[in-house]
């Protein structure tokens, strides 16, 4: 069965600095999708970035980028120029026939 592991329960970063959130997953499939979702205190999950496994190029969305290492089954999220509004829970997710979420990383932004 597919699993998603986020080994950092909490992280902190200084405002305007860069932070990287880690995620590893386990699967025997070759075609799948990976996601990072953000969950602020409002509880509403918001898609941050999405990566297709068949694409070698790492996805980028403004200040958010990923480092996708398919062989290592690693999918980390880099947030550049961190802002106070980035403070939230971040969930890594794997999608094949259904979407499976990791346990999340709580990100604190220090002013």
């Amino acid at each position: 069965a597919q699993t998603v592991t986020q080994s950092q329960p909490e992280m902190s970063v200084q405002e305007a600095e860069t932070v990287t959130l880690s995620c590893t997953y386990d699967t025997s499939e070759s075609d799948y999708y990976l996601f990072w979702y953000k969950q602020p205190p409002s509880r509403q999950m918001i898609l941050v970035i999405r990566q297709e496994a068949y694409k070698q190029q790492n996805a980028t969305e403004n200040r958010f980028s990923v480092n996708f290492q398919k062989a290592a089954k690693s999918f980390s999220l880099k947030i550049s120029d961190s802002q106070l509004g980035d403070a939230a829970m971040y969930f890594c997710a794997y999608g094949e026939d259904k979407i499976i979420f990791g346990k999340g990383t709580r990100l604190h932004i220090l002013p």
Binding site: V4, Y32, Y33, S42, R43, Q44, M45, I46, L47, R50, E52, F91, A93, G95, E96, D97, K98, I99, I100, F101, G102, K103, G104
Partner: protein
């Protein structure tokens, strides 16, 4: 564009009582999901609808949980009877079309259930 609407936002019940949650997805979205998010964990898929048909309910505890999506629009998730371990946030999500998991999910703000 209106988002995914859920109600109620909070619910407190005693164990063995019943409870129902309501979800109105984004207009035109064919696929609807119910997730259970226990404190400190990521969301777990309970059930997935494509229009008004069930696609996946493999993780739905069918002895106490039930869900329906009448006319392929609104959906209701019910728990009867509730147990202490059902305390969680219940998230509803919708996506535009098919069963491909590359589609963006739009989430509601969830219902926080406390079972005493």
């Amino acid at each position: 564009e209106a988002g995914v609407a859920q109600s109620p936002r909070y619910k407190i019940i005693e164990k063995r009582q019943s409870v129902a949650f309501w979800c109105n997805p984004i207009s035109g979205h064919a696929t609807l999901y119910w997730y259970q998010q226990i404190l400190g964990q990521g969301p777990k898929l309970l059930i997935q609808f494509q229009n008004n048909g069930v696609v996946d309910d493999s993780q739905l505890p069918k002895d106490r949980f039930s869900a329906e999506r009448l006319k392929g629009v609104d959906s209701t998730l019910k728990i009867q009877p509730a147990k202490l371990e059902d305390s969680a946030v219940y998230l509803c999500a919708s996506s535009l079309g098919g069963l491909t998991t590359n589609e963006k999910l739009f989430f509601g703000s969830g219902t926080q259930l406390s079972v005493l």
